[in-house]
């Protein structure tokens, strides 16, 4: 809820920023920072999936990193739609709001999918990895 308010506030603030002003470059920098942070989290997710020893730890990396990086990159997209538009009108704001809706659904759906996978693994009695075990 709070995240949503912050996002909508950011988008609303972005609509008032004039093209080419000093705030505009600040917004562009914010978009870049968010995109790079999302990509870094994606990279760490990939490394985690490849390097972690068993199913549970791998899913830990996949669930958390994937959700966070997707959300960061989508927020960057929503801001970029606003700032890169030459003329901010209703359709631009609507597409930004649609991207924020997608953020919400990923925020709910992705952890639930991770939870479902973990529970399925638990029910099919996959043992968690212990220290000194060989990686499986």
């Amino acid at each position: 809820m709070i995240i949503n308010m912050v996002l909508v506030g950011l988008v609303a603030f972005g609509t008032t920023v004039t093209h080419g002003g000093p705030l505009h470059s600040v917004f562009n920098a914010l978009v870049g920072v968010l995109l790079i942070a999302g990509l870094l989290f994606f990279l760490s997710t990939c490394v985690g999936i490849l390097r972690f020893p068993d199913f549970y730890t791998r899913l830990n990396a996949a669930g958390k990193g994937d959700t966070l990086s997707t959300i960061l990159m989508l927020v960057a997209c929503a801001l970029m739609v606003i700032t890169s538009a030459h003329h901010v009108d209703r359709t631009v704001v609507l597409s930004a709001i649609k991207i924020i809706m997608i953020v919400n659904f990923i925020f709910i759906g992705s952890p639930t999918a991770t939870h479902a996978l973990l529970e399925a693994a638990h029910w099919s009695e996959i043992k968690p990895w212990k220290r000194n075990d060989p990686p499986c």
Binding site: F105, H115, E119
Partner: protein
């Protein structure tokens, strides 16, 4: 920049296809096929065919993966492979080569790609592009061709979905459901999954209705919207158990609704026959709707398509998952 992305996607697509063929574990192959569909969806989006990409994302990457997994769950996930059995492979090889030869012979008769003088580009599509909006007041050209100019084709496609549903239903149908303990499915119940499925399902249904109703202004239409509506029902059947899904839409009602969808389509097209028109010629409705007659008729026809496709997806899922018993699922 964009062309680099498209070339990369087009290189990835055959790679993924070969991986899907090469994997021995069928479950992994199904997942890889889902990735293949998603890549094709991206390729089509790059080419500007958003309607096709939409269908591919909903059907190829979404529902058909679920169907494949349901089939694998009730059959086997390993290929039993006998390396000494060469005869079946020889037959397959001869058949593939023969059909490939015939198809390649046929390709040489087709007009060149992008040939401006081919019959398609010279006559029909020029007419559609120039006159579609004036004729029907529908901005989305794809929907215009699909549901107005080439309406008979779409009607029979909808019938194909109905026949597929009835075929799968009748082949797998069992008279008496096998005795099974229902406690097994209850044990896997999870509060988190149930709650978030219940939270997301209304949004899925709303989006499906939007796609159906807005299909002639933006990408979408009856098939995509119907698949999305069916996905909502499948989500409920997955997370809450088949009994609660059957409370939402029972099996007899599902079959009746699927038939009603085709009936709406064909009936709406048959009414002009009474008023001295052609079959599926919506311009007769102008006395009712004025100049928007063809646009509104398209909407009604799309609703019929969406009903059939929704019930088709739901019924196929229920039949496949429960092995025809309609009692318990995955």
């Amino acid at each position: 920049m964009l062309i680099a992305i498209e070339v990369g996607l087009l290189i990835l697509v055959p790679c993924v296809a070969f991986v899907a063929l090469w994997l021995r574990d069928l479950m992994s192959a199904v997942i890889v096929l889902g990735a293949y569909s998603f890549l094709m969806c991206l390729v089509w989006t790059g080419m500007g065919a958003v309607d096709v990409a939409f269908t591919e994302a909903a059907v190829g990457a979404g529902v058909s993966t679920v169907f494949f997994i349901a089939v694998l769950f009730n059959t086997t996930r390993n290929i039993t492979f006998n390396p000494l059995d060469v005869s079946s492979k020889l037959v397959a090889l001869v058949a593939c080569l023969g059909f490939g030869y015939v198809l390649l012979q046929g390709v040489s008769d087709l007009p060149d790609w992008g040939d401006p003088y081919s019959p398609v580009n010279a006559g029909v599509s020029t007419y559609y592009i120039e006159n579609a909006y004036a004729d029907t007041h529908v901005p989305n050209l794809v929907t215009t061709v699909l549901a107005d100019y080439r309406s008979v084709d779409t009607m029979l496609e909808t019938t194909v979905v109905l026949i597929a549903l009835l075929g799968i239903f009748m082949i797998l149908k069992k008279d008496r459901p096998a005795q099974s303990d229902s406690s097994d499915t209850q044990a896997h119940d999870s509060l988190i999954i149930r709650l978030s499925a219940r939270f997301i399902a209304p949004f899925i249904q709303l989006f499906g209705l939007y796609v159906v109703a807005h299909g002639h202004h933006s990408p979408g239409g009856g098939f995509q919207g119907g698949v999305i509506l069916g996905t909502g029902l499948i989500l409920m059947a997955m997370s809450m158990g088949m009994a609660s899904a059957k409370r939402l839409l029972s099996i007899p009602r599902m079959i009746i609704l699927a038939a009603v969808g085709v009936l709406i389509y064909a009936g709406w097209g048959a009414v002009p026959l009474v008023y001295n028109g052609y079959f599926l010629d919506y311009s007769v409705w102008e006395s009712v709707f004025g100049s928007m007659a063809r646009s509104h008729s398209m909407l009604i026809v799309e609703i019929g398509v969406a009903l059939t496709v929704m019930c088709g997806m739901y019924g196929i899922y229920m039949s496949l998952v429960s092995d025809g018993g309609m009692q318990e699922g995955l």
